[in-house]
Subunit: 218 residues, 2 copies
DNA sequence: TCTGAACGCGTGACCATGTCACATACAGGC
DNA sequence: GCCTGTATGTGACATGGTCACGCGTTCAGA
């Protein structure tokens, strides 16, 4: 089956679809780095399966998750480079094994010019990410660690279990591991979670939910 | 003279230009609020003269400058609403008296579909803002207040003089007024600036420059 | 001209968070 | 069982945000 059926590209005319199908998807193992800060954009990336996390890295090594790219979504960092001639600012890491399509620059630009549906896909992705970034900014600038940590736990949770080290959680919320350690300790003492090596079990989802949605005015 | 000559819209075909010229620019007095968080987008805004500052406001009242819109640029927050059906997240304030063109939604969408030059303008603006936001995020997440304050002073400076209250500076760098007060005091004791009610005079631009460009690894 | 309110600024106390330097505990290969 | 790397706990400290003030200036209106 053609990969263009997987992607949420909307309705595309036949010629666009044929063009896109000439791009062969690539397998990417978990943990591999798709691009680093300072590199030039190679093409437009669409994730078909798996998940790609894009981080911003501070000079001291601290990281923060800019956004995750889910299947059917594109990594708009790559678009920036193609449209604005700017290099990457973030670092993209395959969070799981991935299947991705890399649309070369030329094809991308002509699709943008000729195919309204494709344009819409890109634009919407753009707008959505921009909103995300604003929310993120709002969080980093105004929200307490407690709230962000609760939010991260709820996002990563599967059946009440979060499989992530404290370091991973810290990177997600743009904080330091030690801080996560202390907060989790606090959560545990309150009976909201239970922790174990590499995992957190959620015990009181309602409270965490309330925490995550708190606007900071305690 | 038609306003379309002012704006950095690039080369537009005659019909697009005529269409745009049917939009009559509006005068906006300094200090007035163009839109607030939660409002729906009315149209696509292009600034012809003056400056518009877009702030994100935290629940406790603290603010941070998302970006400034200079003449010839568009306020991409308005674009988000038009493309992604999302409401504003920020608050736009006219920093000076402004002249703006408000392109209604319908016209905007048809220009986007039909006029490659216009599309390019919007896309580039989009990409640029996105980059800005990343830089901002990087600053907020990783940079010291000292560096951000130095940067803000250099941005606002005119002939070595910054006309801004500490509250304005604080909003610019997403910090609190008291913090700015103490930092400026420090700067003064080092002989880098001199302060007076509502203004800061720069005495050692080189040092401030170095501070602003420091990556945090002191 | 006086006066009260709004504004701009300085400051001390305190809390939250980030940083650094460790110690400890566990897992998996040998 | 023993090493080595990884995950975690913790104390001490620096930075920055918050709160609660006080003090001087500006300015409109009585």
């Amino acid at each position: 089956m053609a990969w263009t059926d997987h992607a949420a590209l909307g309705d595309l005319p036949e010629r666009a679809r044929r063009l896109l199908d000439s791009v062969h998807p690539v397998d990417v193992p978990a943990g591999s780095v798709l691009f680093r800060p300072g590199e030039a954009a190679q093409g437009f990336v669409v994730v078909l399966s798996g998940r790609i996390d894009v981080f911003l890295t501070g000079p001291n090594g601290r990281e923060i998750l800019l956004y995750s790219v889910a299947p059917g979504q594109s990594c708009i960092q790559t678009t920036l480079g193609l449209l604005g001639e700017e290099d990457y600012a973030g670092e993209a890491v395959a969070a799981t094994a991935c299947h991705v399509a890399l649309i070369p620059k030329g094809m991308f630009l002509s699709l943008m010019d000729d195919v309204p549906g494709f344009r819409g896909f890109v634009f919407t992705a753009f707008a959505t990410r921009m909103q995300n970034m604003m929310h993120l900014l709002e969080m980093v600038a105004f929200q307490k660690i407690e709230c962000r940590l609760a939010g991260a736990l709820l996002e990563l949770e599967e059946d009440g279990l979060v499989m992530a080290t404290q370091a991973v959680l810290a990177a997600r919320i743009g904080s330091a591991r030690e801080v996560v350690s202390r907060r989790l300790d606090h959560f545990t003492r309150q009976g909201w979670v239970e922790t174990d090596r590499g995992q957190v079990r959620i015990r009181d989802r309602a409270t965490l939910q309330r925490l995550a949605e708190m606007d900071g005015t305690d």
